[in-house]
Every structure is written in C-alpha cells, then in structure tokens.
C-alpha cells in the first residue's frame, strides 16, 4: 500500500498561473450533478414530500444513478477518485485535526483525512437514503422498481429509516460544506475552484512530491462510457421492474350494479376503503346511511354484498387500504380516521365547499385515481378558483 507522499499535507507554494489536474472530469461532473439533484431532493423531501413527491422521486432516481457511478468510479477512476487513496488511517486524521486547530494544515491533494471520512459518510448515508427511499416507495406507495415485491409494512419501516438518515445526511452535508469553507477561507486553499476546473496550483503539486498517475483524457472517456452504461442499464432495469404488477394491488373493475347503485349520491368508493366486515355493516344499515335513507331492494343488496365480501380493504396492501380502509371509527366515516385527518388538515374548508368538490367525501374531485383505489400522491390535483 502506497501511503507515502502523494496525499500528505504539504506546504503551499506560490507559482501563480501554472496548475495541474487533480480531479478528473467524471468526478467533477458527479460532484456538481449531485449538488443539484441532492438539493432538489432535500428541498422537496424536507419541505413538502406529499405535494412534490414526483420531483423528489425523480431526483432520488438521479441520485441513485450518480451514486452507483461514483461507487464504481472509486475503483476505476483517476488517482484521487479511488478509495484506496482516501486517507482514513486514524492517526493521520488526528494529526490533521491538530494541524487544523493550530492553523498549520497545508493543502491536500485529493481529500484531506477529515474530508475523506466525511466523503465515506456521505456515500454511506446517500446509499442508505436511496435504498430506504426505493423500498419505501415500493412498499408504501406501490411505485418504482421494488413495488412488485415489497409489502406496505416493509415500506413504512424503510421510510422511518429514510427520515432518520435524512438528518444524518443533512449533518454530513453541512460538515462537508463547513470543511470547504474552512479550507477556502481560513487556510486559503482553492478547493472550490479545484472542484470546478479540476486543477490545483502546480507548486502544491510539486511540493507534495506527487507520485500519482496524472489525470488524462482517458479518464474522461472511460468515465463517460461508464456513466452511459450505468445510467442506461439502471433506467432500463428500473423501468422493466417498475412495470411489474405491484405487490398487493390488482386493479379491479367495479361491477355495474355496485358502481351505479353506490354511485347515486356519491361516486362509488373503491372497495379497499372499508373492510368486508364494515361493508356488510354498511349494507345492513342503509335506511340510516350517514344521515340519509339509502334503502335498496334485497336483491340489489345481495348482489353488492357478494362483491364486497370478496373485495375489501384486507384484499389490498395499499397505503389507503391500511390507513383508512382497515381503520374503523365509531362514526364509520373515513373522514374520521387519524390518517385522513392528518393528510387533509391543511386543506381549507373553502376548498371542500367549492362547487366542483362539494364535500369531504368526494374523493374523486382531487384524487383522480380514487376510482381505482390508488390515491397516489402524484395524482392529487386540488381544484382552485371556482369558489362558490
């Protein structure tokens, strides 16, 4: 293992104008792309995950691809992109911290020992974020490449990991950012321009007694080829997996009698919104149906009861079937479930009152996929502007 000169801390020498390449182009492309999609994912995730889930998911996919590329690039990139040249040896880390404290730390070629640990932490937590996000998306939302295999419960657990590590990641990003500020401002090492141009002043390079193989055009070519390969295969595999039928959700056609009779006063609700037992109860008390008489003749009731005995919340593994459908409240109203209330707490009464909505139980007015029992976050479109 070559632990000698190249990545040692070195005294800064001034030979303005002359530079040498340290960061290869694929690595810089990775870095700044990650900044853009990472900030997008963070903003949409921390601020309003429900409304911006589409953008959050897209940026998550982009992060996955970039991360996958970076993980492989750590094995085949140019000198300072490789894991084996990360300075992680604890005594060196402690020495570097001492140098930082007494302000004697010189510039590092590549990641300095503290920075290297932060990078490892960033890559580790980013991997966990991407994995937990994809598992959560698949299990809870029944979307994405893992929807075909994951249960709701698995998805919910993964999302609690996702949430926890989002804070860890935020902390690491801030640490990384602080490190950059300290290098740039306190020690006057041009680390930001180095990540933009790839170059550091040639004096630093020579003073380090650098033995690293130089960055060449070959790295750009190989990096570009690898990125195309990684992104293309990830997208193709991702799409083909995403197209598999989701675990615990099959789209069913509502029988005509069910759709027309239950759809007289309100649009016919998807059967996954109540358990079969609750449907039976509802069908047995139609003469007092949420404050109105909704009696039907016995033959019609029998026909509907046959359907709801076979299709109820327990036959679906969707978020709505778990958090609304399986939850029975004293009033039997879906709008009295904790999940319904929580999800609709920010929606003003005037939204429900407008003529195109009319009531809180007109799910279809905002959830365009309510008739098929999906209730995807991305299919929420709240009508605005036709207030009564």
């Amino acid at each position: 293992m070559n632990t000698s000169a190249p990545t040692e801390e070195i005294p800064r020498a001034d030979q303005p104008g002359q530079t040498v390449a340290v960061w290869d182009l694929p690595l810089r492309f990775f870095h700044w792309s990650m900044v853009i999609v990472g900030v997008t994912a963070a903003v949409t995730g921390f601020l309003a995950p429900t409304w911006w889930l589409d953008i959050h998911i897209l940026s998550g996919y982009a992060i996955s691809i970039l991360l996958l590329f970076r993980i492989i690039w750590g094995l085949m990139g140019s000198h300072y992109s490789r894991y084996k040249n990360f300075i992680l040896y604890p005594p060196k880390v402690i020495a570097h911290i001492r140098n930082l404290i007494d302000r004697s730390a010189g510039p590092s070629l590549g990641h300095n020992p503290v920075g290297a640990w932060v990078i490892v932490g960033l890559m580790f937590s980013l991997s966990l974020m991407v994995l937990s996000g994809l598992i959560g998306l698949g299990g809870q939302e029944k979307l994405g490449p893992f929807a075909f295999i994951l249960s709701f419960e698995t998805g919910v657990r993964a999302l609690s990991v996702h949430e926890f590590f989002s804070w860890a990641l935020l902390f690491l990003v801030l640490t990384h950012f602080m490190g950059v500020v300290v290098e740039q401002r306190v020690f006057k090492h041009p680390v930001i321009s180095a990540m933009v141009t790839g170059d550091v002043p040639v004096g630093d390079y020579q003073a380090a007694g650098n033995q690293a193989a130089p960055v060449t055009k070959k790295h750009t070519t190989i990096g570009a080829a690898l990125f195309v390969l990684v992104s293309t295969s990830a997208i193709l595999i991702g799409i083909s997996l995403s197209n598999k039928p989701a675990f615990g959700y099959t789209q069913i056609a509502l029988p005509e009698t069910y759709a027309s009779e239950c759809g007289d006063c309100h649009d016919a609700y998807h059967p996954s919104l109540r358990t079969s037992a609750a449907w039976k109860n509802i069908l047995g008390t139609l003469e007092d149906h949420f404050g109105e008489d909704a009696s039907l003749d016995d033959a019609t009731i029998q026909e509907i009861a046959h359907f709801t005995s076979q299709q109820g919340a327990e036959n679906f593994d969707t978020e709505v079937s778990h958090l609304v459908g399986r939850v029975d409240t004293e009033s039997r109203r879906m709008t009295d479930t904790a999940f319904w209330k929580k999800r609709h707490q920010d929606i003003d009464d005037t939204i429900f009152a407008q003529s195109s909505v009319g009531s809180k139980v007109n799910c279809n007015a905002c959830h365009s996929d309510a008739p098929i029992g999906r209730f995807d976050d991305s299919n929420i479109h709240i009508p605005q502007g036709n207030l009564p």
Partner: protein, 148 residues
Amino acid sequence: MTRNRSMSAKNILLQATMAVSLGLFTVGFAAASPTDDILAGYATEASALDSSFDGFSAERGRTLFVTEFGTGKEDTPACTTCHTNDPTQLGETRAGKSIDPMAASINLERYFELKQVEKWFGRNCKSVIGRECTPIEKGDFITFMLTL
C-alpha cells in the same frame, strides 16, 4: 286487367288501413306515456285509499317540494335541501355529487320507470319527512314537475 285493377284497389285499401292503424297506434302510444302510466297507477292507489280523491294538484306538489318538514333526517329538512328551490337547475347531494334537474321539461326520463321513481320516493320521503309518501303526494309531486 279487371282482375288486376281490383287487386290494386284492394292493395290501396289495405295500405290505407295500415297507415291509419299505425297513426292511431302512435297517437295512442304518445297519450299513454310511461309517466302517465305511473300517474295512473298512483291515481288508482289514491282512489282506493280515499274515495273523495279527485285528481292530482301541481299546487299541492309545489307545497310538498318547498315545505321545510324537519321531521325526517336532521340534515335533509326539505326536498330543496339537495334539489334547490329551482327544479330546473342542478341540485347537489350532501356528498357533493350533482343531481340532474327535477323539472320534467328538462329531464322527463326521470319519471319513466316506476322502479326508479319508487326507489327515490322511498328513500327521500323517509329522509325528508320521516315516513313514506302517500300516493297522492307522489302524484302531486310528479304533476308539479310536469308543469315546469
């Protein structure tokens, strides 16, 4: 020739008879529309219940439509709760679904099928008044809607 002529005269007579019968049939059919049948049925029931019954009244139907009963379910004190005061306009269910106008001029099909008519009288009379409607009330209601 004579034979042929008499044949064709017979044909003309036959065709004329068919045309007249068809015309009469059409007129008869139009007169006894499904709505009239339903009204006739309610009239028979009404006479059976009350020998002094002498026909439906649009004015009584209007009163029925606009009266605030408050004797049925709490949230539906009157027909107008959901159907609005103007039967030519769209109504809205408590759940937010729009209801086609009640006026026969706009939506005569409403009063074509006895099963449907009975289903909605059955539900809504109980929701609004708290009891079944009488045949007179049902007939009055439809008669009122036929005037709009």
